[in-house]
Symmetry: C2
Amino acid sequence: MRSVYFPLLAAAITSAAFSQTGIPHVGLGTGPFVFDTAEQHKVRAVVVVRGIPHPWGMAFLPGGNILITERRGNLRMVRDGVLDPQPLAGLPKVYAVNNAGLFDIALHPKFAENRLVYFTYSKAGPDGQNAITLARGRLEKDGLAEVKDLFTGEWTKILGGSRIAFDPKGLIFMTTGAATAPLIEKAQDPMSVYGKVLRLHDDGTVPQDNPFVGKAGYRPEIYSLGHRDQLGLAIQPETGVVLSNENGPNGGDEVNLILPGRNYGWPRVSFGRNYNGAPISGSPLAESVEPPLVVWLPSIAPSGMAFYSGDRFPGWKGNLFVGGMRRGEIAGTGRLERVVFNDKMEELQRESMLTELQQRIRDVRQGPDGLLYVLTEEEDGALIRLEPVQ
Amino acid sequence: MRSVYFPLLAAAITSAAFSQTGIPHVGLGTGPFVFDTAEQHKVRAVVVVRGIPHPWGMAFLPGGNILITERRGNLRMVRDGVLDPQPLAGLPKVYAVNNAGLFDIALHPKFAENRLVYFTYSKAGPDGQNAITLARGRLEKDGLAEVKDLFTGEWTKILGGSRIAFDPKGLIFMTTGAATAPLIEKAQDPMSVYGKVLRLHDDGTVPQDNPFVGKAGYRPEIYSLGHRDQLGLAIQPETGVVLSNENGPNGGDEVNLILPGRNYGWPRVSFGRNYNGAPISGSPLAESVEPPLVVWLPSIAPSGMAFYSGDRFPGWKGNLFVGGMRRGEIAGTGRLERVVFNDKMEELQRESMLTELQQRIRDVRQGPDGLLYVLTEEEDGALIRLEPVQ
């Protein structure tokens, strides 16, 4: 009797406890892969480049080249559709431990004039500590020049990622995490920059209209507080709406609408559970806490996130795309989630895509060509382009 | 360039709005299929029989034959591993409209002596109405004899399913639904049997220790109230713990621990949303309402449900299995969910299985052989057996 063998569970696994089972990761095929989707866009997923170990963020350069960060500290370039085997020079040393390292990357809004590239990373400190850092450099032919730290948080043992994005006014929003026990209380500490959304000028200084400027006992960089691990951030270009997402503890992943001075509850209030089963909070809501726009139960481990505003997928216009990383290294369906909102930013629908590929999705961005690009969170990480099939 | 074509989205679709997109259902292959799972049980899924249109419930007879209900009103038998082409005689006419029809089936605890088979169905009434009905009959060679209605609810236009299960004392628990607008308020109406868990003697009479017996304005059959559409019910044999599950509106599927006299909140309180995006309730919890044990956001459309107590899958002992029906007729990953609780019935972990098959799962039961059996909710419905691979 011949069996059809599925080499691993294409399934959602919700608990970190499963990560000890050691079910192997399934490699990505060569593709391209073609999918139907709910909006009846037939979609082709094309592997643009592969062999990028644990890519984290990407930025599209004028002319079509693409910068890609690797968590372990390299900055790579896709030149004319080919991955340059040589990493770019000029990057600072990063503290690449567990989930810490080099994170997101973004171009200055006036990059065409100033060639400035911004990125976030974990800077190594004393006694095994690190500090979340925003830096920038000028992009030259083979690397970054005049690299300089613009903002560095306090030394900590928290190991969390950080996304950055420029808003329509040219201000930088920057996420930080506070998921590492026993330091989760930092998310509520107004003198810590961890577990926050920060808002900075492009030179790293504090905008004077930040909500806590002049308030004693508050770091003035803080824009919102009470966040866990925020691995996705998207600013809608037309509206300036700022969304970040948050990895829940055991269930309770969230997308939040980021508003100035607001508290998002972690670690007091959550839809998730402790790993021993007890709920984090009696109620997942509280009066002083902003409710999430979107909740996942069980978790998908949301990561990079982007609004789609292009013309190539008309049925997806205005939709939010969220990478899901749960849980490639053992058994997961990494996925690309599509979320549809109404005009009050209330959730209407969701769709999970790319589950067949069984790859964790670390980041998603819209390219200048109006197509969607995703990075897979794997040792043999890949850049995949989604195209409509006519 | 050769593409790998996935003929439909193997994805979670959360909104009924998607059901208009008409993405076709993918047929089940001939199998068997072999899966790895998180507990490192390698599992073989064997198609035992197929060609059962929309099966709903099943019951294992002593000796190994299996009774299977079809929603459209037939009762079928798998004899010696083969589906008898002839439906059993003696079934009442059922009101088979949309989701209404013939539902669950269960053997009397003393079936070996009395051969009594219990089932639930929608009985046709005046003016296009129907009534949820519990009936029983004596199983003879070619069908049911002495079929008799034991309990019939009030006439209604609600179209909902109903599960039944005997508890360790021999009492019948029976679920009813109240998901059909505009009749959803029936779930809170103590004079309606819809949107409730009912508790009855094996002759359909009311146990005198039911929580509302003697209370004016309450139907005495009611055991708990405030339920939406309850398509799964499981009683743990060792403990008598009663769990039912509930389909949320748009998100917010639940598993509830059913306790006497308690209110489960529908349609006042829910984790779900209206289809226009607005949340059902400001908070998903309320003081007077029992919180769910398990919540799915987005929805999986939970259906038949069973505790596993066998020895063939040691890692699954005590786990709850829940069929997921979201959303085969258009694009779904039907699935089999495994939920692990701690000894306080707090959720520890979940795993989604059988997603690769892309079939909606209508029911799951443990067979007398200690294996798990599932029914697929399809026109070409199948009975699938899960076996450990040594």
